[in-house]
């Protein structure tokens, strides 16, 4: 193992250089130490890809990426157990309080856009477009539709089977917010799994099934699933890169985040990893099926990270949730 101190100095120099020189300067490969990451299974593919690429340059840095769901990740992050937390939603008030209580400060970094895809089985030839009202009929508790016929009389009398991500996932929170809103809740007789793979397999195997999860998993599995166009009032829109980035695929596109522990960011290996993440996440996010952020936001994120701007921008002073598109909220 290398001695830490000279390594740290070198890394600092290198990473400062890298700001101007791009990622090539980080390739010194002389760092060691560990970067612990846990959190959302939706962000996992990006972080896994970044970790894999980072690992081929910095062989001695030991990156671990866990899957515990956004909430599960924050649970460990807010007590200082992990350095970075993957999150498919902004941090919540309760989690922020926990972090403050434990003296954990963090930097919030958006890394990509994710469309939330509503998918059905390939053999399902009747559902082409769904409106938010249709989704309410299917997903909201209290006389939820049991068969497709109950949603739309033109559709056949086939039982609806729902595959949904775990309630602790950002994906679920997001879906709930859009479909159920305040005061209502999502029905409970669904098959729930934190592992999106389980959902893909479930929907792919059942003609009457419907499911929802991040677009990345849909893009990866287009041969076994079919996405449903969402009618947000301006006709049906299918999720793809263009419609998600432009916000046309409303209301189901949302940003993904990583949260970096500010104290950990002072460690050269964590710093190098985050730098690497910021430089490479647009390309890698696209590779694993997400949509890259507009370059203004990426640049903003880099600047914020550099100045170590801590705290979240998605909660106001009163701890209330701030709504609106990323470009407006994230400063």
């Amino acid at each position: 193992m290398l001695n830490r101190k000279p390594g740290a100095l070198a890394a600092l120099t290198v990473t400062t250089l890298s700001l101007f020189g791009g990622i090539s300067a980080v390739q010194a490969g002389d760092l060691s130490g560990a970067v612990k990451i846990d959190g959302s299974s939706t962000v996992y593919p990006i972080t896994e890809a970044v970790a894999e690429e980072f690992g081929s340059e910095q062989r001695d840095v030991r990156v671990t990426v866990g899957i515990s769901g956004t909430g599960g990740g924050f649970k460990r992050f807010t007590v200082g157990e992990t350095d970075i937390s993957d999150a498919s939603r902004p941090i919540k008030k309760s989690e922020l309080d926990k972090a403050t209580e434990n003296g954990v400060e963090f930097i919030e970094i958006p890394v990509a856009y994710d469309g939330l895809s509503i998918v059905v089985n390939h053999d399902n030839d009747f559902v082409k477009t769904l409106t938010v009202a249709d989704l309410k009929k299917i997903f909201v508790e209290g006389n939820a539709a049991k068969t497709w016929k109950q949603v739309n009389p033109a559709w056949p009398d086939i039982a609806i089977k729902i595959y949904a991500p775990g309630t602790d996932s950002g994906t679920f929170d997001y879906f709930k917010e859009v479909v159920a809103g305040e005061g209502e809740s999502i029905r409970s007789d669904m098959s729930v799994s934190e592992d999106d793979n389980v959902l893909v397999r479930g929907v792919a195997g059942d003609k009457g099934a419907i499911g929802f999860f991040g677009c990345a998993y849909y893009f990866e599995n287009t041969d076994s699933l079919r996405a449903v166009a969402i009618d947000g009032g301006k006709g049906g829109v299918l999720p793809d890169k263009g419609t998600i980035e432009s916000g046309e695929y409303a209301p189901f596109s949302r940003p993904l985040f990583i949260y970096v522990n500010a104290k950990a960011a002072d460690r050269p290996e964590v710093n190098a990893f985050v730098q690497f993440y910021l430089e490479n996440s647009p390309a890698l996010a696209e590779e694993v099926g997400y949509v890259r952020l507009p370059s203004e936001i990426t640049e903003l994120a880099k600047a914020n990270y550099q100045s170590r701007k801590t705290g979240t921008q998605f909660l106001n002073e009163k701890g209330e949730k701030v709504h609106g598109p990323l470009a407006k909220v994230y400063k």
Binding site: I67, S68, G69, T70, G71, G72, G73, F74, K75, S94, E141, K161, G166, T167, D168, E184, S185, I186, R187, S188, D189, M190, S191, V192, S193, E194, D195, V198, R201, G202, A204, G205, D206
Partner: protein, 316 residues
């Protein structure tokens, strides 16, 4: 030999201690070490009971749950819905459904194979079958889970399209295959422990091999066979990896093996893999479920053990 912790690191002066006092001190230490080993197993049990008990107690102290609702409730929805329901019966019924499918497969097959191995098979055949069973017994459960997912489920769905992608039947069959070697080898042990004289007496009276096996040997070994069955059931109830891969995540009170269910173990994996963030009721509920599972398997093992002890007394 150096693996025995309770001996001093220096070589034992084979039976020639320098002084009686030194020997006494050493042997006191050894005894203390051995008693410590015994105490460790007791401590393990106590810790399990304390952890499950304390956390389950926390759970039942919460406002939204009551012990009575827990053991009689027919709705389990800790993660979804406006109102959370903590009735453990759907999880228990899921577990029992998977176990039932497994046992319908494993018990008859295992018992017949055991009778055949013990009463009929030639030594050469035994020499082939026994290792096959040993290999089966040594296969990790995650492999059976993979088998269920990639072979049994597609097979069942090819036979009948009513099967869900995740279903109790597929998981149950895989659990059955897993239990097969346990049933077979324990039942065979019981059958072979029946004294020869019983068989010889029956043959002497002109019985066929079938009559000897079924009417004489099997009844004589019945307690051992039942013990084997109970142990297999306990294994099936506690099996985790197969059901979490193949049985699904939808708790429901159903007896249809084609539908998906969630077992107690499956729920525990779901919670500990991160579905529950805070220390809310759903997190503590997993301890209550674990306690239920623990009590169920404990009962099965204790009864199985008692039956086996009794049978040993008969033939020794």
């Amino acid at each position: 030999m150096s693996t025995i912790s309770t001996t001093p690191p220096s070589a034992w002066p084979a039976g020639r201690p320098r002084s009686k006092a030194a020997r006494r001190v050493r042997e006191t230490f050894i005894m203390a070490g051995l008693i410590g080993c015994g105490a460790f197993s007791i401590a393990t049990t106590l810790t399990i009971i304390v952890i499950l008990g304390v956390e389950a107690f926390h759970f039942f102290r919460l406002d939204e749950v009551s012990f009575w609702d827990f053991i009689t409730g027919t709705k389990w929805s800790p993660l979804l819905g406006a109102e959370k329901h903590f009735g453990v019966l759907p999880l228990v019924s899921g577990t029992l459904l998977v176990t039932a499918v497994a046992m319908v497969f494993a018990l008859p097959l295992g018992l017949i194979t055991a009778i055949w191995l013990s009463e009929y098979a030639k030594p050469k055949v035994r020499a082939v079958i026994k290792p096959v069973l040993e290999v089966l017994a040594g296969i990790p459960t995650v492999v059976f889970g993979f088998f269920a997912l990639t072979v049994i489920t597609p097979g069942l769905r090819w036979l009948h399209e009513g099967f869900n992608v995740y279903n109790a039947a597929s998981a149950g069959l895989a659990v059955g295959v897993m239990c097969l070697p346990i049933v077979t080898s324990l039942s065979e042990d019981a059958l072979r422990a029946v004294p020869r004289s019983l068989r010889e007496g029956a043959y002497g009276l002109g019985a066929t091999r079938f009559e000897v096996s079924i009417k004489v040997v099997t009844p004589a070994a019945l307690s051992g066979i039942i013990a084997a069955f109970l142990l297999a059931i306990a294994r099936a109830v506690g099996e985790t990896m197969i059901v979490s891969l193949a049985a699904g995540n939808a708790p429901s009170m159903t007896v249809d093996p084609r539908s998906q269910v969630q077992t107690m173990t499956g729920y525990m994996v779901q919670i500990f893999l991160g579905d529950a963030s805070n220390f809310g009721p759903e997190y503590y509920s997993s301890y209550a479920v674990a306690a239920t599972l623990f009590v169920m398997t404990l009962l099965l093992t204790v009864i199985g053990h008692q039956i086996r002890v009794r049978y040993r007394q008969v033939y020794e």
